[in-house]
């Protein structure tokens, strides 16, 4: 089943920059695709397209004015080809050349998970911080189903055309960097491992004794397409190889608790998988006003013991005006699971406020968990030019890198009324009034008196008299 809950978050930094008019900008376009097999047998493909405008520089303020920060979230947005089409049109080469040719709706959306992203932000110029320039980053992440694939091919393996339906013909001509990476960290030791065609092997070491290996295909180098006209990497390894993959340090999940349509609760589980470093995370929740959240029921526990947050910022909702906002600053001890619980009651909405499919329920926005993770992932300091993340500029570079996680969105059933009731009430009331009151009114306001039947006309009287004579009753 496709898990297609896309959380659309816009976090706009609305600081007033000088008006930048694009006269002769030095635009740089870079594209990259990273393929990584997961221990579950699935495969994740991350596309990343960067456009940077170098020519215009401006002075960035040293700190952000938070009064200009806006946050908006749309919990339920169906993502399909109709979202992909305008997203693709922002790319310089559209979907005609380069890595974007792999983006065909039929294969992409027939997957376990997909996510489209658009980030627009100022970045410091390289190599020094002399000025800042604008960067537009488009990301697309797809997780392909391993079970389906392995049943089709019979082995633990894949080719680019089996994933996307077509191989690569060439780079985008205006890209300054166009690369395909295959992450072989977990599978290069596997028996029966094979990778065709051969590419450049890149090895990265991180600060925490993690080693990453990638195979790089540089699409801009003519040697990549020298042997084969179309690049179609294929990877195979034995099916019984157990991948010892490193799991990420921070993992969050959220779910609803409680039964019935009156009370309920929301629980977040924050996993800190780092063996000896505690993490400070910022947990932000926006809940709609009709979930009447009670802040006195907020509990944070770690391994059964209370773990009070360093900061709790709670702004209660106002009915039909603004939602609840809950911010927590939590310290997660190493190698533990922290649980954040809060209870709520469901409110009744007026019958016009329900959506057309009211019995489906309402979606609750994802919680946002932000943390500065220690520099255990590669390239927070110096990076080699060949590394897949070498052109990713993290926002915090001294202590680690900023990581923002979004939890699942929740589906809450609200007590919905029977929408046919207004019609039923009208029918019933009118019937009761017509029969009950109507008859009563008639009896009270009408006077009844007998009336002789009207004298019939001649011929009818004649006929009636004939019948009366035959019966022997008095004539008219």
């Amino acid at each position: 089943m496709v898990k297609s809950s896309l959380v659309l978050v816009l976090s706009l930094l609305l600081t007033p920059f000088p008006d930048v008019t694009c006269r002769n900008t030095d635009e740089v376009f870079q594209e990259q695709l990273l393929l990584k097999p997961l221990p579950s047998g699935d495969l994740v493909a991350s596309f990343r397209f960067d456009i940077e405008w170098h020519g215009q520089t401006f002075e960035q303020r040293t700190e952000t004015d938070e009064s200009y920060l806006r946050y908006a979230s749309l919990p339920r947005e169906i993502v399909c080809t109709e979202n992909l089409t305008p997203w693709k049109k922002l790319l310089p080469c559209d979907s005609k050349a380069g890595l974007a040719t792999l983006l065909a709706g039929g294969k992409l959306f027939n997957s376990m998970y997909y996510s489209l992203g658009l980030h627009f932000r100022p970045v410091p110029m390289r190599p020094d911080d002399a000025g800042w320039s604008w960067q537009l980053t488009q990301t697309l992440t797809v997780v392909f189903d391993g079970f389906v694939r392995s049943k089709l091919t019979g082995t633990n393996g894949w080719t680019l055309s089996s994933l996307f339906g077509r191989p690569l013909d060439g780079p985008c001509p205006i890209a300054s960097r166009s690369r395909l990476y295959v992450d072989i960290t977990d599978i290069e030791q596997a028996p029966g491992f094979s990778l065709n065609p051969a590419g450049t092997t890149v090895t990265e070491a991180s600060g925490m004794d993690r080693k990453y290996s990638y195979v790089l295909y540089n699409l801009l180098q003519p040697s990549t397409f020298a042997q084969v006209k179309r690049l179609n990497p294929s990877v195979n390894w034995d099916a019984d190889w157990d991948m010892q993959s490193q799991r990420p340090w921070l993992h969050v999940e959220r779910f609803l608790t409680g039964v019935g349509l009156h009370h309920g609760g929301i629980s977040s589980l924050l996993h800190n998988r780092h063996p000896n470093r505690s993490l400070t995370v910022h947990h932000q929740d926006t809940l709609p006003w009709f979930l009447r959240v009670y802040s006195h029921t907020l509990t944070v526990t770690t391994a059964g013991k209370a773990n009070p947050p360093s900061y709790v910022g709670y702004r209660p909702a106002r009915d039909r005006e603004r939602p609840h906002q809950l911010e927590l600053l939590l310290t997660l001890p190493p190698a533990t699971i922290t649980r954040v619980d809060i209870q709520f009651e469901r409110a009744l909405l007026t019958w016009t406020e329900y959506p057309p499919d009211a019995n489906h329920g309402v979606h609750i926005c994802a919680a946002v968990v932000t943390a500065v993770l220690p520099d255990s992932d590669p390239c927070t300091g110096l990076c080699s030019e060949n590394s897949p993340v070498s052109f990713y500029r993290p926002l915090v570079r001294d202590t680690g890198h900023l990581s923002r996680l979004y939890t699942q969105t929740l589906l809450v059933s609200l007590p919905t009324p029977d929408f046919s009731m207004p019609y039923n009430v009208v029918c019933l009331t009118c019937t009761v009034v017509a029969i009950g009151f109507g008859s009563f009114h008639n009896i009270l306001t009408r006077s009844f008196r007998t009336r002789d039947p009207a004298q019939a006309s001649g011929i009818v009287r004649h006929l009636a008299n004939l019948i009366r004579r035959w019966r022997g009753v008095p004539l008219l």
Binding site: M1, V2, I78, C80, E82, G106, F109, D357
Partner: protein, 354 residues
């Protein structure tokens, strides 16, 4: 500014109304093939079928059990989706009274020279069309919306196609000029769906749209087929319901109007190598009255609009008279009933009469 615009509305929600989305996407595909670009098309889909969790083939919508063409395609652009498909948004779109921050792709950028094709499908009844199972638009509202469009000079000609049950009722109240309307079924009739795709599990196309598409597949940008062929596109033996049309409001003879004047974006271009002198617009406006000029027809005040409810002309094929038993039979039947009544309850009641 669109000279050839298309507005498509699918008003039905839920998976079992897959065929309505397939209807709209099929017409979209045909019209795009004939040349109207996405910027001139406004598509309103009330629910998502392609990436619906129930769809066994994600990102595809088929209009045929053979599943040969994916009408959803790779470059579909939906302008109004999900909860945004409401009567208010539709009427605002037609009249141009949209909120100021509405993006261009969600506005109808038409002017007095635009030919607009409006295709609506969903569940309908006598005089209304249901939007998303929670509200409806009536034929009077629709007629008034078109009249407002005419007053604001937002269209030159409108072709209105409706594929719902009792669709004829929706165009009965039109009173603005230059509208031709085609509906898939008469008042009191249901429009039926065509066939089921057993691998998807729902009906995938409606009958009227299926035959309309069969017809449109034969049209190409240089076709000389005319609009009156649309009236015969689905005879009763194929559609089971009786399609109807309304042509009295249209100023031109429909046997001279090409299909591509509504369904495609074909303009007549004549290449000349000699110098042509074009009379100025002022000269055209001050010419002898009585000269027929399409562009200025709306400007003069001497238009005679058609009767608001020309019942006699509305339906081309007469409504079928229902069978009625003979009058003598009815008389005898009631006499029998009365006789039995009086026999049962006594002849004394007869004295009241005689």
């Amino acid at each position: 500014m669109c000279q050839y615009c298309l507005i498509q509305v699918c008003t039905s929600r839920f998976w079992f109304n897959y065929r309505h989305v397939a209807n709209v996407l099929s017409v979209y595909r045909s019209v795009k093939r004939l040349g109207i670009p996405d910027s001139h098309i406004i598509m309103m889909l009330a629910d998502d079928m392609a990436c619906n969790a129930r769809n066994p083939r994600p990102a595809t919508v088929f209009n045929n059990a053979h599943e040969q063409i994916n009408v959803y395609g790779d470059d579909v652009e939906v302008d109004y989706r999900g909860y945004e498909v409401t009567v208010e948004n539709f009427v605002r779109l037609l009249m141009g009274r949209v909120p100021p921050n509405t993006p261009r792709s969600k506005r109808l950028l038409s002017d007095e020279r635009s030919n607009i094709l409006i295709y609506m499908t969903g569940h309908g009844g006598d005089g209304f069309l249901k939007f998303q199972d929670s509200e409806e638009i009536t034929n009077i509202e629709l007629a008034d919306a078109f009249e407002q469009m005419w007053q604001k000079k937002r269209y030159h000609e409108i072709a209105f196609i409706m594929d719902t049950c009792q669709a004829v009722s929706m165009y009965q109240k039109f009173y603005s000029p230059n509208i031709v309307a085609i509906a898939s079924s008469q008042v009191g009739e249901d429009s039926l769906s065509h066939h089921v795709d057993s691998s998807i599990g729902v009906y995938v196309i409606d009958r009227f749209t299926y035959y309309l598409l069969e017809f449109l597949e034969k049209i190409h940008p240089a076709s000389q087929n005319t609009m009156d062929e649309l009236f015969r596109v689905c005879p009763k033996r194929d559609c089971i319901s009786t399609p109807g049309q309304r042509t009295d409001l249209f100023s031109r003879d429909l046997s001279t109007v090409l299909i591509t004047e509504f369904f495609g974006s074909v303009r007549k271009v004549e290449l000349v190598t000699r110098v042509v002198s074009v009379p100025s617009l002022r000269d055209l406006l001050t010419t002898v009255p009585g000269k027929k000029d399409d562009i200025n027809e709306g400007v003069t005040l001497s238009n005679v609009f058609a009767d608001q409810l020309p019942v006699a002309q509305m339906v081309q094929k007469g409504k079928q008279k229902e069978w009625h038993p003979p009058d003598g039979f009815i008389l005898a039947f009631w006499a029998l009933v009365l006789l039995v009544f009086f026999k049962t309850y006594g002849m004394k009641h007869l004295t009241f009469i005689f």
